[in-house]
């Protein structure tokens, strides 16, 4: 499974549609404080099925929807999609072994989230399984949020073993 592109619209500070191309090797993401870099990390976790608003630094999941600025009004929904290249591997949810797969998640204010794979509505569970089978997911140990290394250092040995369970 290869990640190709992350697309955001109305997600946190990315009110206008935005595309992050994910190519092989190392892609750097830079910019001043508060410009939206960590929001991109959260968008990637969110589209892969994150169910906790706290992990999105919010009180409730609607907090990921663009809440407005002095010049723009708040939006009513947010959508993130990730384009994958399955390189011929069969997909667990019975989709044709089509190379290009798009997983998307949309949340409408007050009405919860809707997941789709190549346009077809699926359950959150299906999306979570799809990514778990590809050794990734919303809580992957290969996605490290800002300050998370500090918590790993401060954690008690018991709390660190969860890393080991992931490797098992």
């Amino acid at each position: 499974l290869r990640f190709v592109r992350l697309h955001l619209a109305g997600f946190k500070s990315f009110v206008d549609p935005a595309d992050l191309l994910i190519e092989s090797g190392l892609t750097g993401i830079v910019g001043p404080n508060g410009c939206g870099k960590s929001n991109l990390v959260e968008a990637l976790r969110w589209v892969m099925g994150e169910s906790s608003a706290r992990q999105m630094r919010g009180g409730e999941m609607d907090d990921v929807i663009f809440s407005g600025t002095v010049d723009r009004r708040a939006r009513e929904f947010a959508e993130v999609s990730v384009e994958l290249d399955t390189a011929g591997q069969p997909l667990p949810i019975g989709l044709p072994a089509n190379h290009a797969v798009v997983v998307s998640r949309r949340i409408d204010r007050g009405r919860g989230s809707l997941y789709r794979v190549n346009g077809k509505e699926v359950r959150a569970r299906d999306v979570q399984l799809l990514f778990a089978d590809a050794q990734t997911g919303a809580r992957s140990s290969a996605i490290i949020s800002q300050g998370q290394i500090g918590s790993l250092i401060a954690a008690k040995p018991q709390e660190r073993r969860v890393l080991l369970e992931e490797a098992a």
Binding site: S24, G25, G28, L40, V70, S141, Q146, L163
Partner: protein
């Protein structure tokens, strides 16, 4: 349960020893199961000695040394089951330039070995210079984020709007 976990521990520990020495440019370290004989209940402790120093628990290392040791652990676990994408958010903040250099060299090698795609959020100029490509996030309009592909010179200017 128990046998799988021990196998994971042994594999992670083997990777950890190598990665630690790579990241620190020397020294040695190992993982240890703490607080219980039973691997299903034990905690994970890091014992490390940076080059020329004595072996000690993670808590006695300096801020930068702790970050480097924690990164060695994260990548050791990663090597057990490489993920297709790895995203790191300012993990290089406490590192000095020599350690940033070794960290980036390791990323380049991991990308080559596993085919994993890395997304690295950073403020460090040296890390920016080691990337294959750069995206800038700007808020030209206050409170509204935009993504633009940038070159190194522009990235440095973005980091320094002064």
């Amino acid at each position: 349960g128990r046998r799988r976990l021990m196998a994971a521990f042994t594999a992670a520990d083997r990777h950890f020893r190598t990665l630690f020495t790579r990241l620190f440019g020397g020294g040695r370290a190992h993982l240890a199961l703490a607080d219980s004989e039973n691997p299903l209940e034990a905690g994970l402790e890091i014992m490390a000695s940076p080059p020329g120093k004595r072996l000690q628990a993670l808590s006695l290392l300096s801020g930068g040394e702790q970050t480097l040791a924690a990164l060695a652990l994260v990548f050791a676990v990663f090597l057990c089951t490489p993920a297709p994408v790895c995203m790191l958010d300012e993990v290089d903040a406490p590192l000095d330039d020599a350690n940033v250099d070794r960290f980036c060299a390791l990323l380049t090698e991991l990308a080559g070995v596993s085919g994993t795609r890395f997304l690295v959020v950073t403020h460090h100029r040296m890390t920016m210079a080691r990337m294959d490509r750069l995206f800038g996030v700007t808020m030209a309009e206050r409170g509204v984020s935009q993504l633009v592909s940038v070159d190194l010179a522009r990235a440095e200017a973005l980091a320094d709007p002064a």
